[in-house]
């Protein structure tokens, strides 16, 4: 139900991104090629400055590569204008933020349905209620963000990202602002939405436990993909990170 056909949902080929010019230029990405597979949770790991955030921004159409191509659901996005990118975001992209980014003046339900409000769509019957039930917010819907705990706020944000059934959901350090217990609950919720709804998801994180929830872990260093692991435990991930650092 997400995207068309069976091939990868996001395809990046030889993506490079350079910030600034001349002497002070910084190469954040130096030729990254990656395919994000349907209905899988892909984690992107790497030390600070490895380019993992830049990669996610470019895959999500938030930033443009200096060279290389990115296709989302079969559409080349690096050449799109603002209006087309807006449409792309409405139909294909969901986002979960480190700082939740809920709108403080709207209550939980309004925040969750905001993407539909913006695109002027009617939610499918029962879909919103199902998501709300699955993320465990049924009794918190009329609360404002300021009346919710951090974990509850992130649940609202996840429900908001799922509500429009995006082709791919990007999660940017989704546990970075939560304590470890709450963080684990959120990670399980994310993994469940991949398993239960077939949601494709890309998660950027520097937390090995978070990466351990993924089907596949990509390791970035100095703007390049240096390693790739399938499903594995946190211990193995930490080892690889240390190898990269060394």
């Amino acid at each position: 139900m997400n995207g068309n056909g069976d091939g990868p949902v996001v395809v990046a080929a030889d993506v490079a991104r350079r910030y600034g010019q001349g002497e002070t230029a910084v190469d954040a990405l130096r030729g990254v090629s990656v395919e994000i597979e349907r209905a899988r949770l892909t984690a992107v790991m790497g030390p600070s400055g490895s380019g993992k955030s830049t990669l996610m921004h470019i895959l999500a159409g938030l930033d443009k590569p200096t060279s290389g191509t990115v296709a989302v659901a079969g559409t080349e996005i690096t050449t799109l204008g603002d209006n087309e990118l807006t449409k792309l975001r409405r139909r294909h992209i969901g986002f979960v933020f480190q700082f939740f980014n809920l709108l403080p003046m709207l209550n939980a339900r309004e925040n969750i349905t905001l993407p539909l409000t913006i695109s002027g769509e009617k939610p499918e019957d029962g879909w919103v209620d199902k998501i709300v039930g699955d993320v465990g917010l049924s009794d918190r819907l009329s609360h404002r963000p300021s009346e919710l705990s951090g974990g509850q706020q992130q649940r609202v944000a996840i429900a908001r990202a799922l509500v429009s059934k995006p082709t791919v959901l990007f999660a940017d350090e989704p546990t970075g602002n939560l304590d470890s217990t709450t963080g684990n609950e959120i990670l399980e919720l994310l993994r469940r939405s991949v398993d239960d709804y077939g949601q494709t998801m890309v998660m950027v994180t520097h937390d090995a436990r978070a990466a351990a929830m993924a089907h596949r872990v990509l390791f970035l260093a100095d703007g390049q993909i240096v390693r790739e692991l399938g499903e594995c435990n946190a211990h193995r991930i930490l080892e690889v990170l240390e190898e990269i650092a060394a």
Partner: protein, 852 residues
């Protein structure tokens, strides 16, 4: 998205309210002005209609050309024999004649003329109190007989006049003592606030007003079945020259003409200040919206991430502005009602009571006030709204993302400068171009000023850093660390500081403009009096500018010690067919006025004779006239005389007492039945002394409207009239300064909110609450001073431009006023900081750091 916009506003109640206030005041001024002037208008309409009740047509004197309203020159009288002729007409049921004067002064118990504010002193005859034409009702006593007077209830109450009491009355001749026969009021109960009403029987009125055997008006009622047009046609057939007849409707309109002109002027005048306040308010709105949007960058970026288009973001900001505009305009609309009430009371306090038949709230008031408020708010929100659409979605995930500069950001300084220069050019065109009519001139000047203000406001962000450096220097000395931080804070976001200061800049530019013009007028006037006036005393009306009956000067001439009297009469006439003022002098003027003659002999004034004239050089140039050429003067009575030009003078920069064309008093008096002096200048043995002053005061005792003043007294008195006008202007401009004060409060509140963490950090490393308050206060004062510095310079530049154009003004720097304005700006800064500083000082250092 609608919900998002509205909820957003509700969640920012304080700043929304502060922002809205900026518009509320301007709208209130507009709606208040309309309510006030509509109410006055309605009241006067009632009064003028009441006065003509019972009449079907009115006959009045008609001058040979249209006289300007309110100059004190009245239509000529006509022979009272016309009344009998009219009564003989077949369509006429009834007719009564009357005389009137709007300078019939009553003398109070203190011996002074009773005058309230600038209101007129109306005197009139009541030929037949029982006739249908009498709009008055007796309150007390009897209608007046010979040598009696009846006064209105309001005046009687204010002055403690009682029936049977004898009071002084002065119209054309010296004061007469008349017994009060009764007290009256309009049958409708309306009062013309401030005006005094005095009624007499016809012969007494004719004698007092020097109109023996003459009438000003005849009121006519028609027989049943005769229509007004039929009546007018029948009357027209027998009317002599110098008279006219009008149906009652038309007559009421011409009665109201002068009042309507005044009301229209008052309306335009007050609306202009409402407009200025709104203009200033638009800066405040634009600024607070910009700041709010900068603070909501992450929120707006999140919306974009969730799929909102630029158009939706634009829409949501515009919608917010629309809601603010509507609410603020509605509040302003009703505040205007209260303001109108307040203004009625204010006018009452300053002695110029306005008639009032209840507040009039017209649909037009609602429409204009709401539209103005809403459109200004929307207009001001456009730029911030467009900026908001440039918030990139990636700002939702990046800490501290800032707005990208616009495509034309680099050209902004140049664009602003071009705008200011263009504004000055438009202004200069309006001021200097020849052959434009008044409306066109005003449009060019208005447009030019608007562009200048906008251009300077936009450009001023470039001036903020250097200005803050200089103007903030005292703060660093006085405020220590807090002062230095304040200076740095004022400089760190020049655009924000600039647009906050811009609102104050406009108000200060305008008050400086006014002060500089006033200073120029005063200096020019003083130097001109000193250049021209070689006498010892001047006689003028109590109000310093109304022409007064010549009997006063004649009485003064009889005072012991008077050696020379020079009178300057004034009136209206056609000069070579063009309507305007003329003046007339008697030979004595030669010895009290020293003119600079460019052509003709030095003693031209004393040798004019019956057919000589002198003109000023401007008129001579415009009319291609020289000594020896002639000028044809047509008087209001219709007769024309040709005068030979014997001299041409160059008036000093402050102006002269003379009109463009001046003839001899003898020639003037021959054609004008009731000549009046604008000024009389005297020389006395021993010059200006207390004794001479006493002698003149005694001689003028019967002319309470006249006063004798020494040269210094004359100058001071003429200037004092100007200062009351100045005070009104300052009060009205203060409104826009109050609006800009709200602007500073608003910016500071938002800034404090934005710097919560920073302030917490300062507190954590040992800054006291006092120091925090001081820091905010100094920043506020520096901002206000930046506005003051730019505004004062701009105001002086604008004034210099105007003064350069006007021949009779010289530039004079209003030092004292500028010092006062600077102090006022500092006061505004301190006042604006009170609330934000308290909020900042209250921040809990721990929570401030933990924020977010």
């Amino acid at each position: 998205m609608t919900r998002f916009a509205i909820r957003g506003l509700l969640s920012r109640k304080l700043r929304t309210a502060l922002t809205a206030l900026a518009i509320v005041l301007g709208v209130a001024m507009i709606s208040g002005t309309y309510v006030l002037t509509d109410s006055i208008d309605q009241a006067f309409d009632r009064i003028f209609t009441d006065i003509r009740q019972g009449s079907n047509a009115v006959i009045s004197g008609k001058s040979a050309f249209d006289l300007s309203e309110g100059s004190g020159v009245t239509e000529p009288t006509f022979d009272e024999a016309l009344l009998e002729d009219l009564r003989g007409l077949s369509g006429v049921e009834d007719a009564e004649g009357s005389v009137d004067s709007d300078a019939t002064q009553l003398i109070g118990d203190d011996g002074k003329a009773v005058v309230y504010g600038g209101a007129p002193n109306l005197g009139f005859s009541i030929a037949n109190p029982d006739s249908r034409f009498n709009p008055l009702t007796l309150v007390n006593g009897e209608w007046p007989g010979a040598n009696e007077i009846i006064v209105d209830k309001e005046t009687a109450a204010k002055e403690d006049f009682e029936v049977g009491e004898t009071i002084g009355v002065q119209a054309e001749g010296p004061v007469q003592r008349l017994a009060i026969s009764g007290i009256m009021q309009f049958s409708s109960g309306l009062t013309i606030g401030g005006a005094t009403l005095a009624g007499f029987d016809l012969p007494t009125a004719q004698r007092l007003m020097r109109k023996e055997g003459r009438l000003d008006e005849i009121a006519v009622a028609s027989k049943p079945g005769v229509t007004d047009p039929e009546l007018v046609r029948e009357i027209q057939a027998i009317l002599p020259d110098g008279t006219q007849v009008q149906g009652v409707g038309q007559q009421v309109e011409s009665d109201a003409e002068e009042t309507n002109e005044f009301i229209t002027f008052l309306q335009t005048f007050l609306l202009a200040f409402g407009g200025i306040a709104l203009f200033v308010g638009s800066f405040v709105i634009a600024n607070s919206l910009s700041i709010t949007i900068a603070q909501r960058t992450r929120e707006l970026a999140t919306l974009r991430m969730l799929g909102a288009s630029r158009r939706q973001v634009l829409g949501s900001i515009i919608l917010e502005a629309l809601v603010v505009g509507i609410v603020a305009s509605l509040v302003g609309l009703f505040l205007g009602l209260a303001l109108a009430k307040g203004l009625f009371r204010l006018f009452d306090l300053v002695g110029f009571t306005l008639p009032n038949t209840g507040l009039v709230f017209e649909t037009r008031t609602i429409v204009v006030a709401l539209l103005a408020g809403i459109l200004v708010t929307l207009g001001a929100s456009l730029r911030p709204a467009i900026r908001a659409t440039r918030v990139p979605p990636v700002a939702a995930v990046r800490e501290g993302a800032t707005l990208p500069p616009g495509r034309f950001a680099r050209l902004r300084g140049v664009g602003a400068l071009l705008m200011a220069v263009g504004g000055f050019a438009a202004l200069a065109y309006g001021i200097f171009a020849d052959g434009l009519d008044t409306t066109t001139i005003l449009i060019w000047m208005g447009l030019g000023t608007l562009l200048v203000f906008l251009g300077v406001a936009l450009f001023s962000s470039r001036l903020v850093r250097p200005l803050a450096h200089v103007l903030g220097w005292p703060a660093t000395k006085m405020g220590g660390a807090a002062g230095s931080l304040a200076r740095d804070n004022a400089r760190r976001n020049p655009q924000r500081t600039a647009s906050t200061a811009a609102a104050l800049m406009i108000g200060l530019a305008l008050v400086t403009l006014v002060a500089t013009l006033a200073s120029g007028i005063i200096v020019s006037f003083k130097s001109s009096v000193n250049d021209l006036f070689t006498g010892d005393y001047a006689i003028t009306a109590q109000n310093n500018f109304s022409p007064i009956p010549i009997d006063a000067a004649e009485a003064a001439a009889m005072a012991p010690g008077v050696t020379v009297v020079g009178n300057v009469r004034t009136g209206e006439a056609l000069r070579n067919g063009e309507a305007g003022f003329i003046t007339a002098v008697d030979p004595g003027t030669q010895e009290v006025i020293d003119l600079d003659w460019t052509e003709g002999p030095e003693d031209t004034i004393s040798t004019l004779g019956d057919d000589g004239a002198f003109v000023d050089d401007g008129w001579a140039e415009d009319n291609d006239a020289g000594v020896g050429s002639s000028v044809e003067v047509t008087f209001p009575n219709g007769s024309s005389k040709t005068f030979e030009i014997e001299g041409i003078f160059d008036p000093p920069s402050g102006g002269s007492p003379f009109g463009a064309v001046t003839i001899s008093a003898a020639a003037f008096d021959a054609e004008v039945p009731q000549p009046r002096n604008l000024y009389s200048f005297l020389k006395m043995e021993g010059g200006a002394t207390d004794e001479n002053q006493a002698a003149l005061d005694a001689a003028l005792a019967d002319f309470p409207n006249a006063k004798a003043q020494s040269r210094e007294g004359f100058i001071d008195n003429q200037i004092s009239g100007l200062s009351s006008i100045l005070n009104i202007l300052y009060v009205l401009l203060a409104l826009s300064i109050v609006v800009s004060l709200f602007g500073i409060v608003n910016t500071l509140v938002l800034t404090v909110f934005e710097r919560t963490r920073e302030i917490g950090m300062l507190r954590a490393i040992g800054m006291t609450r006092r120091q925090i308050r001081r820091m905010i206060r100094h920043e506020s004062v520096i901002t206000a001073l930046i506005g003051a510095a730019i505004g004062i310079v701009l105001g002086i530049a604008l004034a210099a431009l105007l003064i350069y154009r006007v021949d009779f003004l010289v530039f004079s720097f209003p030092t004292l006023q500028v010092v006062i304005f600077v102090i006022a700006a500092i006061a505004v800064g301190i006042l604006a900081a009170v609330f934000p500083a308290r909020r900042a000082a209250k921040l809990d250092p721990l929570r401030a750091i933990a924020y977010e």
